[in-house]
Amino acid sequence: MADPPKFDKKSRYTEGRGIAGAFEGETVTRRRLMEGGVQVAGAVAVAAFALPGLGFALGPLFEKTYPETWQNVGPEDDFNEDTYVPRVINIAPDIGDSGKTTIYVRRYNPRRDKKVEGQDPEPYVAISTRCAHLGCPVRYIQASQKFVCPCHGGIYGFEGQVEGGPPVRPLDRFYARVTSGAVEIGDRFSLNSELKRFAPRDPSNHLDGLWQYLYPSRPTT
């Protein structure tokens, strides 16, 4: 009586594993290969629409949405060192009034403004009205020389530094320059509590000490 053929279940070859219809030297069954091929084809097909779709939705995170512009807000004579003058600038195009924002502009005051080492002061201080807590519009009260937020009670001093309430950092500012006698306003920048400049951050993002590393700046800035 002949011995039954011996099969090694761990054999590299399908023939050696005793699989019916196996070819000589075959290591993967045709069924397994087809299964794998169909799975790969399906994955490629899904990726072909899913990845571009994902990139489409996430694209704005990685591109600079608006070109850098300088907006004229009036002649130098309109502004002084001791009080703020409100001006309206455009921060998002094509959406009418909702793309506009109010800023407060005054001339740099060497007696009152804090100097920050390694940083040239801007000739004009252009303060953003976007509250550093959650982005509500703050209002400047001349009598108390403070910025007050209507939503959650944030209070800022003359330089935009936090004096009370929940805000985590001073009010943002805009770059300013003077071109042939007119004051021009550029991009936004953020400040920490020492009035050191940072790339623009969202409201609610801390910028002091180790906190600043938890709130990275945009890839585009």
Binding site: A57, P60, A92, I95, G96, G135, C151, D202, S204
Partner: protein
């Protein structure tokens, strides 16, 4: 001479005689056949239509499994809160489809188109009101439903997975509230959305990216409102519908629980034999 029969389609060919009648339509020898009444014909027609569908889909065992299941003693009105939430969702879906026919998701036209729905469109105020107040009703119902599940202990084994699905549905419903709030595009909805997006930005590491994703950029821009609109009417409702199916499947499979004040009946099976 008999003319050959033209090749008529089956529907036009004369039907064979009913049982109990001879070929001329007169009463046969098996006694008089009564003519079916209109009601009988209607019932017969409906039954045969349903039979046609069932024979081809085999759906009736599934429907019986879904609809004719046993419920425990003590089932009461609190058990209808889930169905009520489902009904609120369906109402939101239907009114939302009709609102989408008039609404324009564009920052310069959204407010005017929403105002036109309220002021000019026939029944527009009613449909918009249904959608607005229905959203609040749905949130209230979903929390009542959640409270019922919690206080009746219906989240316990083996129903934990359904609790988890329910919580995801709650979060998605809140996301519907957040994205829908911007769409009327008045001062309240604009600033509420600014604040909500900045709350998202306050999360460490991922927060700033999440806020940029929601706004489609660093500032509230031209595509923010269309982004919220797409999430509100396509992405999130799709997820909600899929999860509602999973939720209902598990409810049907696992059954509902008896209220906690009902003690299990003690059946002493061993002594019963004696």
């Amino acid at each position: 001479m008999k003319l050959p029969t033209p090749p008529l389609p089956k529907a036009f060919r004369p039907s064979p005689p009913r049982p109990g009648r001879d070929r001329d339509g007169a009463n046969g020898k098996n006694g008089p056949a009564t003519k079916p009444t209109t009601k009988e014909q209607a019932v017969e027609g409906a039954a045969s239509a349903i039979g046609w569908l069932d024979e081809r889909s085999g759906v009736s065992p599934w429907l019986r499994w879904l609809l004719y299941r046993k419920v425990p003693k003590g089932t009461n009105w609190f058990y209808t809160l889930g169905s009520a939430t489902l009904f609120a969702f369906l109402s939101q879906a239907v009114t939302g489809v009709f609102l989408a026919m008039y609404y324009e998701p564009d920052a310069t036209r959204a407010y005017e188109s929403a105002a036109r729905i309220s002021n000019d469109v026939f029944l527009g105020e009613f449909v918009r009101g249904m959608h607005k107040w229905g959203a609040t009703v749905m949130i209230i119902l979903i929390f009542l439903h959640m409270g019922r599940t919690f206080f009746f202990g219906a989240y316990k084994y083996p129903r934990e997975l359904n609790w988890v699905i329910g919580v995801v549905l709650l979060v998605l419903t809140l996301a519907m509230g957040l994205t829908g709030y911007l769409l009327p595009f008045d001062q309240r909805s604009f600033w509420a959305t600014v604040v909500a997006v900045n709350i998202n930005a306050s999360g460490p590491i991922v927060g700033p990216y999440l806020a940029d994703f929601l706004r489609a950029g660093a500032e509230f821009g031209p595509t923010t409102i269309s982004r919220f609109y797409a999430l509100h009417m396509l992405a999130i409702p799709g997820l909600i519908v899929a999860l509602i199916f999973a939720h209902l499947y598990l409810v049907t499979k696992l059954g509902t629980t008896a209220p906690p004040w009902l003690k299990a009946e003690k059946k002493d099976l061993l002594t019963e034999e004696v």
